[in-house]
Symmetry: C2
Subunit: 326 residues, 2 copies
């Protein structure tokens, strides 16, 4: 097996210089850097990550916590995270938490055992548990977190309400996201502000969970509680699709009898017919920028913004009526 | 920091016994095992994975290669893999290859650098590259692989064709999956056998890729080439949905004017209306059993079956017409 000594010998530099060059740590003259990289390439030398990790007390691994890998919003985030960390020389340890605090604890333990350099988490958990690890929170963010990337939930809530008010709503129902997800309440506040301003009455339906596998059951409950709803501001796209399907099964025509707006803009919302109108969150960008922020922290680069807020936009498709008088 | 010596002291056994007990390697009396586990718990002792990995020359990490994390079929596989490996004490390093051989190479290098114990791959790649690592292939499998879990593609192809023949097809088009994915051709053979047996004519459309982000473009190409198609056997669910949407946009009523059957049964195929009839592959089960097989190999357990083939089933929904005469 090729060792760092072989590389040093071929490049005619010291072992310490090879280490600095290949780890991009400390000063190395540009010409030397090139020589070392060429020597490493020639000898097919890849520093062993495990030995390096033990020596440096941290690895080139980053832990990724997702609340639900079967909701397409999160694979899109994961893809953004992955593209960033790979470019910067890290790899991802996957943790799919499924809104299960016990699983979250288990993963944090596993991450610690593997000396991860840091954690990117889209799970709104007890971040106190991560106190020894650099981490960046994505999406489900509250104010008291140090590093976070999320989209503008209040704006999203107002955009969703503004989208329905001019489309002849008869009975508006807001599907409120789970109470333990901070962004749910911020979106609700945004929507309520608009509806109150326009003096439109509305009802609320509490979505118990964001788990994909509960969506169909929840859609049935929705219609039991709100048989006469004709305009729905849904908690996310997965739940909007389930409610839309249940409406169709009940013989309601979309959007004439029943109109709905989702939240997230996952790829499937565009791919069905009628297409789901929704608030687009930049999932890939949230993941990418969150990972960039973490890498900057790990590499002790200057941090310009600790809380990054990305814009959301309305995607109008066929699930809302044409605009008409109020 | 708590060390293995502290645990040994509290449990009143030797360090070697603690190591055997916590690593589940070698004989440990049941009562001793319990004493050690309790001591480790009391002292909040977690063996450092990195040190263990360097010593044992392999880690408790398993690499997972996926072709496209944004196709919901693969997160479902990933969930199965994850549930199995976690139960057996391993963690997952994620590699999303996106049908890019260069990315696959990069991941295999990263996996090697991290001393992964083995690899589970749903990418049909050049497995020769993995010769030094135990690996199990999922889904996109050819016969010359040593360990594999997949579903019965030929059966799937026949079921898809049998589902359409009694539903008054006028012009059948088979969307053939990418040529470099072995299962595409096996499914095609299954469908063709049935159609030939019933002396039904059909045409073929070559799907250039399985990448989700090319589905809409491909659906438009499909209708340019096959304007008069009224019955489609699609290459997978993502592409079936894209074609179904394009048909609806062209004013075709589903299933009266245009009927279609998919392949995979991802969760969204059930959640739209009309629901997509499809061939259900047990994605979670493929992932779970593949990971179990790999763990058995790593733990040198007896291997009952090196190639596991799981059944597929027809899921009838609204995208096909009612049965009628041929």
């Amino acid at each position: 097996m090729t060792t760092i000594r072989d590389v040093a010998k071929l490049a005619q530099v010291s072992v310490a210089t090879v280490s600095r060059a290949l780890n991009h740590s400390g000063y190395v003259r540009e010409s030397t850097q090139k020589k070392v990289e060429e020597a490493a390439k020639t000898l097919n030398f890849h520093p062993n990550e495990v030995a390096r990790s033990l020596y440096q007390k941290k690895s080139k691994l980053i832990g990724l916590l997702l609340p639900d890998i079967t909701n397409p919003f999160f694979p899109a985030i994961a893809k953004g995270v992955e593209d960033s960390v790979n470019k910067r020389g890290y790899s991802l340890l996957l943790g799919n938490v499924e809104e299960n605090p016990e699983k979250e604890n288990d993963y944090l333990k596993i991450f610690a055992q593997n000396n991860v350099a840091g954690v990117v988490s889209a799970v709104q958990g007890n971040t106190a548990k991560m106190k020894d690890m650099p981490f960046v929170l994505l999406d489900r963010v509250t104010n008291n977190q140090k590093y976070a990337v999320h989209s503008d939930d209040f704006l999203g809530g107002t955009l969703a309400a503004q989208a329905v008010i001019h489309r002849r709503p008869k009975k508006i129902v807001i599907m409120v996201g789970p109470q333990n997800v901070a962004s749910s309440l911020v979106r609700l506040a945004g929507s309520e502000q608009v509806l109150k301003e326009y003096k439109l009455s509305y009802e609320r339906f509490q979505t118990p969970s964001f788990q994909s596998d509960l969506a169909e059951e929840t859609a049935q409950d929705f219609f039991k509680q709100h048989q006469d709803a004709d305009t729905v501001i849904a908690s996310n796209d997965v739940y909007a699709l389930a409610v839309m399907k249940e409406a169709s099964k009940r013989g309601l025509k979309i959007p004439e009898d029943f109109q709905i707006i989702g939240y997230d803009d996952m790829s499937f919302s565009r791919m069905m017919y009628p297409g789901l109108t929704t608030i687009s969150q930049p999932a890939y960008e949230i993941g990418y920028q969150g990972a960039e922020l973490l890498c900057d922290i790990l590499e002790k680069k200057p941090i310009k913004k600790k809380h990054i807020q990305l814009p959301v936009t309305l995607k109008l498709r066929e699930s809302l009526r044409e605009k008409g008088s109020l």
